[in-house]
Amino acid sequence: RENNRQNAVTDSIFDHDHALPAPESPGDIPAELLRKTPLNLPNASELDVLRHYTRLSQKNFSIDTQFYPLGSCTMKYNPRIAHAMASLPGFARLHPETPAPAMQGLLQVLWELQEWLAAATGMAAVSLTPAAGAQGELAGVAMIRAYHHARGDTARHKMLIPTAAHGTNPASAQMAGFEVIEIPNLPDGDLDMEALDAHLGPDVAGIMLTNPSTLGVFERRIAEIARHVHAAGGLLYYDGANLNAILGRVQPGQMGFDVMHLNLHKTFATPHGGGGPGAGAVAVQERLKPFLPLPTVTKGESGALRWMTAEDAPRSIGQLSAHGGNIGVLLRAHAYIRRLGRVGVSRVSAYAALNANYLLKELQKLGYQAAFPERRASHEFILSVSDLQQATGIRALDVAKRLLDFGIHAPTIYFPQLVPECLLIEPTETESQATLDRFIAVMAQIREEALAHPELLREAPHHLPVGRLDEALAARKLDVAAALS
């Protein structure tokens, strides 16, 4: 009751409406084209707007306020200097139809980023236009398709994808018109080579992999896989979601991948913004270069930079968005790479791995079960709380919700689906040992609570603005927009 009172604050923007007159209708537009239903957005004072959204912001967990070890999401520090640089009026006020001579400063940033991403991945060329990882995947598999078709090979309609892959992989392959074939993993986490070989053939366009895999371990036979797929005429697609694990240490190009995307909002520290915008640049080996999505930035003989068009690249898979992609995000990634430099970029994976392996070892000491205890963690690792579930009924979800009470964001849960009651934990390289040690202490306490007071976990979270929300009710009622009052 006390808490309810405290929270009984006006907290809908629709409570801040004031009646203000609308301007007169313009005389030169026919009445039947003018607005009929009155526009009913609230007219709130600037202070009420500021206060409302500032208070809402405080209800979020974020990297800037909490440890956020969300596996597969690489929630590392998003440097604020990158935001400041991307917000400079010289960038922010540039209209996309500005002629190239008047935007050489921006084009130079983008051109360098193309070069740097190629260098970092060991690939030949880069297009920065995909707006997010999934759009990068779509572009990637579209390039695979275009490559085969360009050679007159139109029979390759299947895309192989490990069972544990991110959901976007099959969705993107499907969207590009491929049939998806799932390939299982072995108990040690590596891909089932026999299953792979059984599927390879003249109808297979390629395989989509991430390495380290979503199981948090490095696919050790990647060179062999590449040989087999290539021998069967297929291409290898690298899902860049886990690139942070190997940045500066292993290059997708060297592992045998033909095409890949990078999640700049993961590996290159651009913010996730509560759900984007990301940037899913694609990188390719030489033979796929003609198919890169447009526009890319090219350097003329005079050194002047300009956008490439379909006239320059007639075999391109085309454009994915109306302009050049999420340029503001690309500016941030550029600033990050330039700040770290060659040496700093190489350190990323080393310390990401150190933090992950340290956490794994310390959590195992507390009794938590590793999904792959014999394996080295990559930048992330999987625990399973099946043992707790058997002992007390406590599930991964309960552990996750209880973590929130301690001001720590939950790890990814129930992904990958093949490990029961799993927690996928990725600390990233930007967290200090002190933060990890506090996480370990909290996980120790939660484990004790799970055994002694399981209701504390089952009813968690206790200290957030709301308790566990009824998602079934949400789908049933489907209240997805405020009703007109």
Partner: protein
């Protein structure tokens, strides 16, 4: 070490806890033949030097007074919008998978959805797509799913060409045919299609690529009469003045999609922007992208969460309504704050000023010898100016006057060589219109 906190002692202690002797040893499962130890990247810079370098780059882009539109518009963004949107709690949060720890983002998205439904007059809005053009591709795929067996889309020839290019990329992969709908060269307006064929939907662009307002009622009614869905392509700011898609024709459009950039998003050379997508409630299960709903917790407190996630790739994988995962959350946060800051009143006023400026500029330019306006209108804030010489040359010459004069239609392979698509927004004062006129006059005289 920029952004990596570990000192030598800490690193040593942690390695010891792991039981390895070096950082390199953490990679002992990776075949050494695959490991590289150098990359062709530049040296790192201190934040201080980085700032100076990038400020230099930013300043080397010519500052221009903007008269260009074509799908991206220079508008005033109130100072509070990005001040709040860039707060770390919004800026550095992930997709709200743990709703209890993400009520801020979730309520913002719910309010955003509410605003979009009110602007469009439709019942349901998703929580954003990448941009307007890719949003239109998703809207077409959605229409095809709703319609079932159809295999084509009727695409106006006066749709923005950059949007058409995205449809060419995305829809053609799935063997969807794009059937062109021609426009009347004299009026610039769409003609009613000759036949529906196997089309699932008709795209109705309000505003079209010439800045003109289409007869949306008859187009929508034609679509419905022929069993097609009507997909409205709209400018969200213009909706403060123009008829909402939900009110088009007898039954209203079925899906509305658009580029959200005019709602508080800086131009930034072309992105990040965001696409909005609204539809009738009946079609909600075919909607791509995130959707937020209001619900209750065990103690009856209201809260917000993602809903109908079974449409999405992380649950449904290959059977999802789209592959979209990360969308444009932060842009939508800014747009929500922008819309809330302006309110109905501010949006209507801004739309009104834009329209007035566009009228005033057109009047200003009428006196210039040799220029004309190929289309009679009506328009919102953009129209085609026909110059007696190459619009590309004039545009380039006006850069020297500090003006981005518009978009030569020739660069879009549309119109005549002298056609320049010109836009006016509230950022222009009346004196700027005279500056434009005088600069254009001097450039035309010099030709």
């Amino acid at each position: 070490m920029p952004y990596i906190p570990h000192d030598a002692e800490e690193t040593a202690a942690m390695l010891a806890a792991v039981g390895v002797s070096s950082l390199d040893a953490l990679f002992d499962e990776i075949p050494s033949s695959l490991q590289v130890h150098d990359m062709a990247l530049p040296e790192g810079l201190s934040e201080r030097v980085l700032r100076r370098e990038l400020e230099g780059r930013a300043q080397s882009n010519t500052p221009l007074l903007c008269f260009a539109g074509g799908g991206a518009y220079a508008h005033h963004i109130p100072a509070i919008v990005w001040e709040i949107a860039a707060r770390g709690e919004f800026y550095s949060a992930y997709t709200p998978y743990q709703p209890e720890a993400s009520q801020g983002t979730l309520q913002v998205l719910y309010e955003y959805q509410s605003f979009i439904t009110r602007l469009t007059g439709l019942e349901v809005s998703n929580a954003s797509l990448y941009d307007g053009a890719s949003g239109l591709a998703e809207a077409c795929l959605m229409a095809l799913r709703i319609q079932g067996s159809e295999k084509s889309i009727l695409v106006p020839e006066n749709l923005l060409p950059s949007w058409r290019k995205v449809l060419d990329t995305v829809l053609v992969m799935q063997q969807i045919r794009l059937i062109p709908v021609p426009y009347d060269a004299r009026t610039g307006l769409l003609q009613l299609p000759a036949e529906a064929g196997d089309a699932a939907a008709l795209i109705v662009p309000q505003i079209n690529a010439f800045g003109l307002l289409e007869r949306v009622d008859s187009l929508t009614d034609w679509a419905h009469a022929h069993g097609l869905l009507s997909i409205a392509v709209v400018n969200p700011l213009a909706l403060a003045m123009l008829k909402a898609p939900g009110d088009w024709g007898e039954q209203g459009a079925d899906i509305a999609v658009g580029e959200g950039q005019p709602m508080g998003i800086p131009l930034t050379g072309g992105g990040p922007y965001f696409g909005f997508l609204a539809c009738r409630k009946a079609y909600v299960r075919q909607l791509p992208g995130r959707l937020v709903a209001k619900t209750l917790d065990a103690r009856g407190r209201e809260g917000y969460c993602l809903t109908l996630q079974a449409r999405e790739q992380h649950i449904r994988r290959g059977k999802a309504t789209s592959n979209i995962c990360t969308n444009q959350g932060l842009m939508v946060t800014a747009a929500t704050i922008h819309m809330a800051t302006l309110g109905s009143h501010g949006l209507q006023e801004t739309a009104h000023i834009c329209h007035t400026r566009a009228q005033q500029l057109r009047e200003c330019l009428q006196e210039l010898p040799g220029v004309s306006f190929p289309h009679a209108g009506p328009f919102f804030h953009e129209w085609v100016l026909r110059l007696p010489v190459s619009a590309v040359k004039v545009r380039d010459a006006l850069l020297g006057h500090g003006l981005l004069a518009g978009i030569p239609l020739q660069e879009w392979h549309m119109g005549e060589a002298g056609d320049l698509l010109v836009c006016a927004t509230e950022l222009l004062e009346e004196s700027d219109l005279l500056t434009y006129r005088d600069a254009l006059r001097s450039v035309l005289e010099a030709q």
